[in-house]
């Protein structure tokens, strides 16, 4: 959350916005990749709260919408490269799902860049680290997501 403070002149100053990002990482590839990044002492973005799922195809569209509703500013879904899926084609379903979800977000008036899909294998620790910072910076530029309910 953005922290709002008042300085001596009663002017509002803001600390740098630290986005909340939820990362749904598949157990077999992306999560292992992120794990390897940690073991290899590669720095990755602390803004990403990782949730391990058995497959990127396990991420129901309502998880994404609900995460945004509960305060996520960005959501990363990461799974195996095509052909590598432990369940043979779960990641194809993810790709179709995310493509449709991006369109849905757009139609709801939410920037589709807030949802990102990446393929990260268990050995691509560097890719995870790079993507985590890239995505965090992108969301920083987009600013906090403020949902209007009324």
């Amino acid at each position: 959350m953005e922290e709002v403070q008042l300085n001596e002149n009663q002017e509002v100053t803001t600390k740098e916005f630290e986005p909340k990002i939820v990362g749904f990482l598949c157990n077999w590839c992306a999560y292992s990749g992120a794990d390897l990044a940690g073991v290899s002492r590669l720095q990755s973005s602390p803004n990403i709260r990782i949730i391990r799922t058995m497959c990127s195809g396990r991420v129901d569209p309502s998880f994404v919408l609900r995460a945004f509703e509960l305060g996520a500013d960005g959501i990363l879904i990461a799974g195996c490269h095509f052909g590598d899926c432990h369940y043979s084609e779960g990641n194809y379903k993810t790709m179709r799902r995310v493509t449709m979800l991006k369109k849905l977000l757009q139609l709801f008036g939410i920037d589709e860049r807030r949802l990102r899909l990446e393929w990260i294998s268990a050995s691509e620790a560097e890719k995870y680290a790079r993507v985590s910072f890239e995505f965090t910076n992108e969301i920083k530029q987009l600013g906090p997501l403020k949902l209007q309910k009324n």
């Binding site: 379903k93 369109k103 139609l107 939410i110």
Partner: protein, 322 residues
């Protein structure tokens, strides 16, 4: 024994839910005989002051249909909640927002601007916007205040039970009312709070008589673009049928008439967002291996948001266009 008291009220709705109550045919006589109807402005002459004069919890059951669109709807929702023992969100508008909820794609300003300025049918009064309060020679007059967002009943007051459908099917209404009469007569236990009455918990596909095969959708068609086969799954044929993400209970009425399910019974049990569930279903059946191909296929869906959320936009996760 004193008769149990029944009230019906309509907020932002079309009146179809009132018709469906009358449409239970001769069973309406049992209802009229068993209950003392204390408030039903659609068919009998009652005033709001009659309700205001009642003691709290005076009404046993209120069937409330219609979404909450303006300050008057809100006032009546709160008043009837206060005066009723059991408040039922009756029909899709009260339950999910329904068609009035589609206004959540726009905001108050743009709706009023179109209706009172830009629409071709506005002539002499062009640009005159309705005001909540106006000064007239006879004194100040007021109309309800129009809201920016349509809400479901549950978002405004505490609701005990829900009856889905646009409108709820009359056989379901009859069965529900008879069940309620039975409960009140015999002193049986009421169903747990929050129960969805007059419907099942599975999906419309569960009641659909059509044959389903393995779906591989390469192209979507609008209903007028092809003549669908009568015994095959409509989604298999490329017609966007909301069946997989819609609660069962209507008897698969639309699909039996060879038109796709529109989703009026709302999301099935344990689903929080009907449109998201439909996306989940579609992602399993669209036959594409690249994002470009997916885009090409879904671009043929006319009005995707209005199709996925035709009845549940106000109740959806985001509730309105951001």
């Amino acid at each position: 024994m004193e008769k149990p008291k029944l009230a019906l009220y309509w907020a932002a709705s079309c009146g179809g839910c009132e018709i469906t109550v009358v449409d239970i045919e001769e069973k309406i006589l049992d209802v009229a005989e068993f209950f003392d109807i204390v408030f039903w402005p659609c068919i009998m002459d009652f005033k709001y002051s009659d309700v205001e004069a009642m003691d709290d919890k005076f009404i046993d059951i209120t069937l409330f249909n219609g979404a909450i669109r303006n300050s008057e709807n809100e006032y009546m929702a709160k008043l009837l909640r206060q005066k009723s023992k059991i408040l039922v969100a009756f029909g899709s508008c009260a339950y999910d927002g329904c068609i009035p909820g589609l206004a959540n794609f726009y905001d108050k300003e743009s709706i009023l601007k179109f209706v009172y300025e830009e629409s071709d049918t506005v002539d002499e009064t062009k640009g005159t916007l309705p005001q909540p309060k106006s000064e007239m020679p006879e004194g100040e007059i007021s109309i309800p205040e129009f809201w920016n967002t349509v809400h479901t009943l549950n978002q405004i007051v505490d609701v005990d039970y829900f009856i889905p459908g646009c409108p709820p099917q009359s056989f379901q209404v009859a069965a529900t009312l008879i069940a309620i009469i039975d409960i009140l007569k015999t002193g049986k236990e009421l169903p747990p709070k929050g129960t969805v009455l007059g419907a099942d918990s599975k999906t419309c596909c569960d009641e659909c008589p059509r044959e389903r095969k393995e779906k591989k959708i390469k192209e979507f068609f609008r209903p007028h673009e092809i003549i669908p086969k009568e015994d095959e799954c409509l989604l298999d044929q490329g017609i966007l049928c909301m069946g997989p993400a819609t609660r069962s209970g209507c008897g698969a009425l639309c699909v039996k008439a060879n038109v796709p399910c529109r989703g009026c019974y709302g999301a099935p049990a344990n689903v929080i967002d009907q449109g998201a569930k439909m996306i989940s279903a579609l992602s399993s059946v669209i036959d594409a291996t690249s994002p470009e191909e997916v885009k090409r296929i879904i671009d043929k869906i006319a009005d995707p948001l209005g199709t996925l959320y035709r009845f549940t936009l106000a109740a959806s996760t985001f509730r309105r266009k951001q």
